[in-house]
Amino acid sequence: MKRFSKLLALVFVMALIAAACGSSSDDTTTTTAASGGAETTTTVAATTTTSGGAETTTTAAAGSDFPGLMVEAACDDETNKSHINYIKAVDANTVEIQLCTQDVAFPAKVAFSAFGIVPQEYLDANTGGGDLVDKPIGTGPYKLTQWDKGNQIVMEVNPDYWGEAPNADTLVFKWSSEAAQRYLELQAGTVDGIDNPGRDDFALIADSPDLQLKERAGTNIFYLGLNRDKEPFGDEKVRQAIGYALDRQRIIDNFYPPGSKVADQFMPDSIFGYTPEPKWYDQDIEKAKALLAEAGFADGFEVTLNYRDVVRSYLPSPATVGQDIQAQLAEIGVKVTIEVMESGAFLDASDAGDLTMYMLGWGADYPDATNFLDFHFGKNASDQFGAGFEDIWALLDEGASTPDPAARLVIYEQATQLLKDHVPMVPVAHGGSGVGYLGDVEGAHASPLGNEYFAVMDPGGRDTFVWMQNAEPIGLYCADETDGESLRGCEQIVEQLLAYEIGGTDVIASLAETWDVSDDGTLWTFHLRSGVVFHDGSTFDANDVVASYDAQWDMNSPNHTGRDGNFTYWDALFGFKNNTG
């Protein structure tokens, strides 16, 4: 009997080993097969390097031995759902980007932190993911020393930085979702700056002689998202009913800090594309009930409200606002169940269109209507509101390719009217927010875009600047992040071709010293700064730009990996190549 049991155990173990080997060999086969089919690149010149299936053409410019990369996709190709025709490294210090249609906001988009330049070799070595997310390498004033997950991020000064050297040798990022704790740490002097003081702490910081408060204008929007793919929001009348039901003024008056405004539309008034009309519906409970009755929900319905319990400028107190919306919707018979989600899971679920009704917001990344409207309601927007609205798509495409500002405004006014009719969301608030600093911090500022730049701050002569924000960055490969807390981290380490002025929204030079555009407004040429080196010692050149962009652009690129592979910003602003989905 004993011998039999031993035999049985042996057979079992061998079966396990056999199963393990079997499945791993299966995996290998699948991988090979999956990386097999991609070619949309047109050959231009000399050599063609093939890595894992996606083709990148290397071209040697005349009179130089620089093997410049070029990636392209035909504009009329149906798999090229992007506005870009090609990206080309003309020589080591020149990059050309040919657009399919004119895009007046192009420099403002290029300056955005999701489009940072990383070394080509590092991208390839990590196939566009892996260490890029946890150990970013860039050209910025600070380089990452250590990311102690769940605790803090430590960065040290980049000795080879091409620009002005940072004041503090070390930059530490900490985080706490508790406004009270952030305030307490600032008051105790253990941190030099905090993001988003609590509503009631504004006055305390402003009045304290040891602290300083920098107010951030409300260049953001807090909205209640309604997904038309989820019942009962498939019916426009139901969505309009929600639009009529909310008393938004009550929410601002009671839960927002000074400097906040009721949102009359999706666009904040400080961003180009805002038009004074049309205004949102005035609250009308009877009208809301009538609309619900017409839609067949005279007795209301049950729905889940999702949110993440994370403080943002646009939403300083999620829990109380959530409960107030719950109480307000109860007035028209809508029974709301609140479900709080973890931040990352919440964003992924809303992007994927899995949520029915949710509280989300948006802070300006670059100062143009396309950042607000196209990102959310354009053709390439995520599925957060379900299937989009084709009439809005058409208007937004037109708006993005119209150079005349006055004509653009007319288009955006129409788009805003359509948003009011379709109600994919209810705009609620433009939240005022602030940043608190110790009194002796020089160069302290608050950026309307939320990208405070710590290299220019001097923490009273101390060699470490400690910053405390609301949450830990989700990842530091910002091509694949949308979260403001992550973007701010990336902005200290990685740079783009262009940048925004410190504490403002104007586009300025960064890795590109100058840039120009052809007369038809479609061919952009960037002249890169020379002598710039990455944190790993490699030299920055035009191929790094092409490789960084191509990893995001080309869905078939082996480097199109990221953290979760969404590349939400690129998709929304430029569109993917080889997008067969």
């Binding site: 609590g198 009631d200 009671n254 109480a327 479900e339």
Partner: protein, 340 residues
């Protein structure tokens, strides 16, 4: 408690499988004899009625137990008469009545401006009367804690009785499962259970009940192990009493004493755990008034609106203290090894 005494008239007259007809009369006769011999003797099992009366007197002699009972009586009154005591419905938003979020307490008697509406514990972050929510919160906390403990006691007792009485592999299997449950920190395990089941009142109760089952199972099992060896049990066994009858009428009543003490203390723990789960957002969901979630909602305002954190915390402390004092008093009163 006279039910506990074996009454020969309960005996089925029909022969049973394990007792052929001819032995029944004989065993009855013997049992009567045994009973007479035992009468007046000091055997815990058969004098439990007396024990309870003594225990009751002892409890009333303990000051701490009386304080505990007083605290709990007030709570119970609050919970039962919440609709009468609370001036507003707990979820009613009062922004239309001239309040703003986190208004401090306003009692006209203590010099608060007569023009302002009176809210004796102030207003919470969502513009609701805080006193009303505290009062209604008593209902949720007490009910949830009682149900959780009841559930755990029932299941724990069953597991303990079966494991202790039957022994052998049944005991081994059941108690190892209980050991596995015990090897996790209870709150952590409760969080896991709620994460799997999803947040909500019922699931939170279930989670807390499940993690406390082993506690009761072990207490009951150890009582059973010692009671099983008592002479009166052996006597019954010798007389051919069925196992189930032995379990239900001899052994179970004698495990109640420690069980009641542990269960009373267990309610205190359950109140805390319900509040903890709600504090973490895993228990009772908004807008239901519950002390733990009320505390969580306002924790950031501890400097600017301390009353909103203070009173919810005070109520949790009040309840836990009440049950702990009562539990300690009961233990002192019931446990024959202490102080008597």
């Amino acid at each position: 408690m006279s039910d506990d005494l074996y009454d020969p008239s309960d005996r089925p007259l029909e022969p049973t499988d394990d007792q052929p007809l001819d032995t029944v009369e004989a065993s009855d006769a013997i049992r009567d004899k045994v009973r007479m011999d035992l009468a007046g003797g000091d055997v815990g099992a058969v004098t439990s009625g007396g024990l309870w009366r003594t225990a009751g007197r002892e409890v009333l002699r303990k000051k701490s137990a009386i304080v505990g009972m007083a605290l709990l009586s007030i709570l119970l009154l609050l919970a039962v008469f919440a609709p009468i005591i609370a001036p507003y419905p707990p979820n009613k938003v009062l922004f239309d009545e001239g309040v703003s979020p986190r208004d401090p307490p306003c009692v006209h008697l203590f010099g608060c401006d007569e023009d302002k509406p009176q809210h004796i514990l102030g207003i919470d972050g969502n513009g609701r009367d805080y006193f009303s929510r505290i009062v209604y919160g008593a209902r949720v906390s007490l009910l949830a804690a009682f149900v959780a403990v009841l559930f755990a006691v029932v299941w724990g007792t069953m597991v303990g009785l079966v494991a202790g009485f039957f022994g052998g592999w049944v005991d081994n299997v059941l108690m190892r499962v209980m050991d596995v449950l015990l090897s996790f920190p209870s709150l952590l395990l409760a969080i896991v259970v709620v994460t799997v089941l999803g947040p909500g009142l019922i699931n939170a109760i279930l989670a807390i009940a499940i993690v406390t089952i082993p506690q009761y199972a072990r207490i009951v099992r150890s009582s059973v192990l010692s009671i099983r060896e008592q002479e009166y049990v052996s006597a019954d066994q010798a007389l051919g009493v069925t196992r189930w009858r032995l379990l239900a009428h001899r052994i179970f009543p004698n495990t109640l004493t420690p069980l009641i003490v542990i269960a009373t203390l267990g309610v205190a723990t359950a109140v805390l755990e319900i509040a903890s789960l709600s504090f973490l957002g895993l228990g009772i969901q908004p807008p239901t008034a519950e002390w733990g979630s009320m505390l969580a909602a306002e924790r950031n305002q501890v400097f600017t609106a301390p009353h909103l954190v203070f009173f919810a915390g005070l109520m949790i402390m009040w309840t836990v203290l009440g049950f702990n004092l009562l539990g300690d008093g009961l233990r002192d009163a019931i446990d024959p090894r202490l102080g008597r």
